[in-house]
Amino acid sequence: MLGIMAALALAVALPFVVSGYRVFQFTMVLDYAIAVFGANILTGYNGQIALGNGAFYAIGAYTVAILMTHAGMPYWATIPIAAGTCFVAGFLFGLPALRLEGPYLALTTFALAVATPQLLKYHGIESWTGGVQGILFDKPDAPAGVPLNSDQFLYLFCLFVTVIMFVLGANLLRGRTGRAIIAIRDNPTAAAGMGIDTSLYKSLTFGVSALFTGVAGALGAIVTQFVSPDSFTLFLSISFIVGVVIGGVATVSGAFFGALFVEFVPNYADQISKAAPWAIYGALLIAFMYAMPTGVVGLLRLIVRRIDPQWAIRKDAGKQ
């Protein structure tokens, strides 16, 4: 609890100590953290491999762009609508996905991610989506009288939404629903034997994952004030899974470490070698996996246990 408070204090102070572009980058870290958490709920906790969450990120982003430009809605009001739309889309996609396990499910979600950019370019919906051009809209300003520049304001707005999403998600993952979600991953037959409606739970978890990813997409659109089909490539979907694995599979706080990797490592790779940034990126990814096979959070837990072997036991006792 103390750690969370300290991290939150640091996060609130951040936009006042770093430069404008850095503020934007950290805003994107928060945004990706929500998306990585969403992917982790589905893949890490529930065991359904999701390679297509970029599609829900796109739906969230386009929902915001369309509602802001066509319906004139304020940016903040579009987020719940994006969340709801993505939940329904994820739940419906989750229903047929129930029949698929492991690599078959992974390929189906992969297909979703591959198809999304092209579907967004479709002529019939061009008047809504702006076709290949996408949609450009105005940057939201801080409310009148708030002494923040718009970058700082957007960062703090994203932080606010991030805190809400992580509280909701962490709550979901403990207690009755969380145990059921994990039990299905560990042993679906036994889970059904314990009275868990595994089909319903898996579909709902798919919906929740899509909802988180959609909220991230919505925030991403608000922060960049631009959506276009080519922003939502397959690579984006894969990045979320990279974030899950780097941060720590089936951990809550891992999402932030995963998001830092997703946001910053491609930039650093680019600085190291303009000629072959992706080779550097790949090498860094392998180095991370080699050094931390259980992700950043796995490594941190290992270190804490090495220093204080009683920590885990006390922590568990505190939960009771």
Partner: protein, 263 residues
């Protein structure tokens, strides 16, 4: 007929003319028997006799090709798999089927899933209902942990515990749904002599304490004959004997099935 807690004469479980085929193989062929309330019923038979198939019909993993299963006056075959726990049927698995990454306590908490309320919305928002229901289940799980002597390992992950301890965790998990009927699939499998003796006492004690009816599939003849009020014997998917342990032990068909005496 000891320890009968039933409040009516109707059997808790009635299986009628149950048949299951896998392709050309007849796994169960018109099997009928009843399990009276409060009794411990042993289900025996050589390998491939159809015992586990019957168990899987009871927990709705298999859909039989014919026949009926009536539990507490309700037709089981019309209900989905996940309704069994809420109806009052708890089970253990032949080869352990625990949730390996979870602690002993959480495994047992999952066993009580159907006894408490609270879905995705209530849990995400941590509504007051959630804390109440969690407290209710936690208290019951703590009681089961004590009853099955799991206090020392309650907050350890199940993977890494000894086989005998994991079996007790499964038993506690099966009891967490507050079952009327407990299905035990080879509870003695993999246990040593001493552990089997303890298991025998435990099954009887749990039956009396929680007013259970028990159906157990078991190869360990000594255990079955001493713990059961009633024994049903299967061979090649047919029922070959049904009665008290002494009656079944001496039935010619049972002796033939086990010892292979020529007809």
């Amino acid at each position: 007929m000891t320890g009968a807690t039933g409040n009516s004469g109707a059997p808790l479980l009635a299986i009628g003319e149950l048949s299951v085929r896998f392709g050309g193989i007849v796994a169960l062929n018109g099997v009928s028997f009843e399990v009276p309330r409060g009794q411990i019923c042993g289900l025996i038979g050589p390998n491939g006799a159809g015992k586990t198939t019957l168990f899987n019909c009871l927990s709705r993993l298999y859909q039989p090709d014919g026949g009926t299963i009536t539990f507490d006056g309700k037709d089981l075959l019309g209900l989905p798999r996940h309704k069994m726990a809420a109806l009052g049927i708890g089970r253990t698995f032949q080869n352990l089927a625990l949730f390996r990454t979870m602690s002993v306590r959480d495994n047992i908490m999952v066993g009580g899933h159907s006894t408490i309320r609270g879905g995705f919305v209530a849990n995400s928002l941590r509504l007051p209902l959630v804390a109440r229901e969690e407290a209710k289940l936690s208290a019951r799980v703590a009681e089961l942990i004590a009853a099955l002597d799991l206090d020392g390992v309650a907050d350890q992950p199940v993977q890494g515990l000894t086989f005998a301890v994991q079996k007790r965790v499964e038993l506690a998990r099966a009891l967490a749904c507050e079952p009327k009927l407990l299905l035990l699939d080879e509870p003695a499998g993999g246990l040593n002599h001493e552990e089997v003796e303890k298991l025998r006492e435990l099954i009887g004690a749990l039956r009396d304490r929680y007013g259970l009816t028990v159906l157990l599939v078991e190869h360990h003849m000594n255990l079955v004959m001493r713990v059961s009020d009633k024994v049903v014997a299967l061979d090649f998917g047919r029922k070959i004997a049904d009665g008290t342990p002494a009656e079944v032990q001496n039935a010619p068909d049972v002796i033939k099935a086990y010892l292979g005496a020529s007809a």
